[in-house]
């Protein structure tokens, strides 16, 4: 019986294929990821960004390293909020945990950064899984509050754990990668950029695979998603685990960057400033988030040079209000519509 069904299926597939060849002729199937030229341009841009520290002075490189850490967090928000539609404020808990695990791994376990960062990613992923599992039944505001609560719980636990340094936190640790200390901002930048590029490649690949569609379906209509065989819980957990791993790495690099970890790494401030970046950049747009993340972080750190230090928060707030009013899809939405308009103009010219 089942053999017969398979035969009909094959015949149907062949029939559909034939219909395609005769009817669609040379029409091109739109590739969501863009062509080879875009890929080459992206590679060049990535290489140029990675080479930046060769041309900059110490303090600029130090700032670049910080921008990469913010970009890692922004990318994890893009995954959770943009692609999966999960309104999570749990990044702070993942980030703080990553920072503390990195310090403990180097101080207590004497692990080199390569193993240490793997451990951080693993712990972050497990924490993400737990947060995902705990919040499987809640959505929207409830999920935001539940994930936010995790950060507060961790902050209080760490504040009261003497072994981790209590309220003062810890200093004087040295995080090394392949035997060299991460207090060299160039090395810190490069380690961060490797993690960031890896994360970006994973996200871009997922978006172009069945995984990206499973996230999309789970976000847009969980009922429909399940009706076509998508186990929505599994994908939610997977997204949380990935976000946890990379937020954890961001936290570990932050510990190496700031040379001190204290319970404030679990605070909401950082999450909120990254959330601002994600909103202005566009939650669904990775390029938008990366560009806005770099620009705003640079502005914030150099505001004193322009004499604008007192206006940083005002500028952040205004940008959020302006983008919510005029660009609900953020800068990324603006970029996308410009690109679409451009390609359709080009296509029109080619056809005429």
């Amino acid at each position: 019986m089942s053999d017969q069904i398979t035969v009909t299926d094959d015949r149907r597939a062949a029939g559909v294929g034939d219909a395609l060849v005769t009817a669609s002729g040379g029409r091109k199937v739109a590739d969501p990821g863009g062509g080879r030229a875009t890929g080459a341009a992206a590679l060049l841009a990535a290489a140029a960004v990675a080479a930046l520290p060769l041309a900059t002075d110490y303090s600029t490189t130090y700032l670049l390293a910080y921008i990469v850490i913010i970009a890692l967090l922004g990318t994890s928000l893009h995954l959770l909020m943009g692609l999966m539609g999960v309104f999570s404020l749990g990044q702070a808990a993942m980030f703080g945990t990553g920072a503390y695990v990195a310090v403990v791994a180097s101080d207590e376990l004497a692990l080199d950064g390569i193993l240490g960062l793997l451990l951080v990613a693993l712990v972050g992923a497990v924490l993400g899984l737990v947060m995902g599992a705990v919040t499987l039944r809640v959505t929207d505001l409830y999920l935001a509050l539940a994930t936010l609560a995790v950060g507060y719980i961790f902050e209080n636990v760490v504040r009261n754990t003497d072994w981790l340094g209590g309220p003062q936190g810890r200093t004087g640790f040295v995080i090394t990668v392949a035997g060299r200390s991460l207090d060299d901002p160039r090395l810190l930048f490069w380690v961060g950029i490797v993690a960031l590029y890896l994360f970006i490649v994973i996200i871009w690949s997922m978006r172009r695979s069945k995984l990206g569609r499973a996230f999309m379906a789970t976000r847009e209509s969980p009922i429909a998603a399940r009706s076509i065989g998508i186990d929505t819980r599994r994908y939610k957990l997977l997204g949380f685990a990935l976000a946890g791993a990379f937020s954890g790495i961001a936290g570990a690099l932050y510990a190496a960057w700031s040379l001190v970890v204290d319970p404030s790494v679990f605070g909401i401030d950082l999450t909120l400033s990254v959330l601002a970046i994600a909103i202005v950049g566009g939650l669904r747009s990775l390029p938008g988030i990366l560009i806005v993340g770099a620009a705003l972080t640079y502005f914030r750190n150099s505001a004193a040079d322009f004499g604008a230090a007192d206006y940083v928060l005002l500028v952040y707030g205004s940008l959020i209000v302006l983008s919510l009013r005029f660009l609900p899809q953020g800068l990324g939405g603006l970029l996308a519509s410009t690109v679409t308009a451009g390609t359709s103009r080009m296509r029109g010219r080619r056809e005429s």
């Binding site: 019986m1 069904i5 009909t8 299926d9 015949r11 149907r12 597939a13 029939g15 559909v16 294929g17 219909a19 395609l20 009817a23 669609s24 199937v29 739109a30 969501p32 990821g33 490649v201 994973i202 871009w204 690949s205 997922m206 172009r208 695979s209 069945k210 995984l211 569609r213 499973a214 999309m216 379906a217 847009e220 209509s221 009922i223 429909a224 998603a225 399940r226 009706s227 076509i228 065989g229 998508i230 186990d231 929505t232």
Partner: protein
């Protein structure tokens, strides 16, 4: 003919109200089976139970010879039960192709690490399925709209997208919940043709409808539900002449 889907004594209660009461339903392989009944008869509730969306308060469901009572929707879909919804459940911001591609989820397999790193293999598998989907869109007359966003489509076309997404999973059983709801007359005729064609290429289809007219002309067998009970079951002509069915539809109930 073997029974593909067999429901026995299926019951669902909403508080004191028995929405679906001891319903038996047998869908045979290769048939176009109509499930009809007036509004509020319990059709959608029954179908939600059969497809794992809602839980059962009593009874058993067998699919392809296996007991699937209480199996969740995504697992049932994995075994080959696809369905459409009465109220639109499309992925609004996505293109028609991507909506329908999502329907092929269970058939796309490229294994780790090809999911996390786009490799030539990922591209090849994606391309094969995308071509299949384009062919499917041509079959249901959506080829022109392939790259348009679903939210930009008129109502009738959106219903077709939903149908195409369900078909895309190559299901053994296709369950359609009121596919004709809100369609203008001309589109209903197109839909009837699509239904007949689906059966011809080997699908087993269960169609839910409150309008008896559409189904009488195309179905092999019909089950009529009224107030949560089966009041008639058999070939369309017999069902249409059944006094209980006439009563339920025309409303000459002595004690109502």
């Amino acid at each position: 003919m073997a029974a593909l889907l067999e429901a026995r004594g299926v019951t669902r209660r909403w508080g004191g109200l028995v929405a679906v009461n001891e319903v038996d339903l047998v869908v045979e392989t290769g048939t176009l089976h109509g499930l009809i009944g007036p509004n509020g008869a319990g059709k959608t509730t029954l179908v939600n139970m059969l497809t794992g969306v809602d839980r059962l308060d009593g009874g058993t469901v067998t699919f392809a010879g296996e007991d699937v009572t209480g199996v969740p929707a995504h697992r049932l879909a994995g075994r080959g039960v696809a369905r459409s919804f009465q109220t639109s459940q499309l992925f609004e911001d996505e293109s028609v192709v991507d909506n329908v591609m999502a329907g092929r989820h269970r058939l796309i397999e490229y294994r780790f690490p090809h999911t996390f790193l786009t490799t030539p293999r990922t591209r090849r598998v994606e391309r094969e399925h995308r071509l299949h989907v384009i062919g499917l869109l041509e079959l249901v007359g959506l080829a022109e709209d392939a790259n348009r966003r679903v939210s930009q489509l008129p109502y009738g076309r959106r219903r077709l997208v939903e149908l195409a997404r369900a078909i895309a999973s190559d299901p053994t059983l296709l369950v359609l919940d009121e596919p004709a709801a809100g369609l203008p007359g001309s589109d209903v005729d197109v839909l009837a043709q699509v239904l007949v064609r689906l059966r011809e290429v080997g699908f087993t289809v269960l169609v839910i409808e409150h309008n008896i007219g559409l189904l009488v002309s195309v179905c092999d067998r019909m089950t009529v539900l009224s107030e949560g009970r089966v009041i008639a079951d058999g070939d369309p002509e017999t069902v249409r002449r059944s006094p209980e069915v006439i009563e339920a539809y025309v409303g000459r109930t002595p004690d109502a």
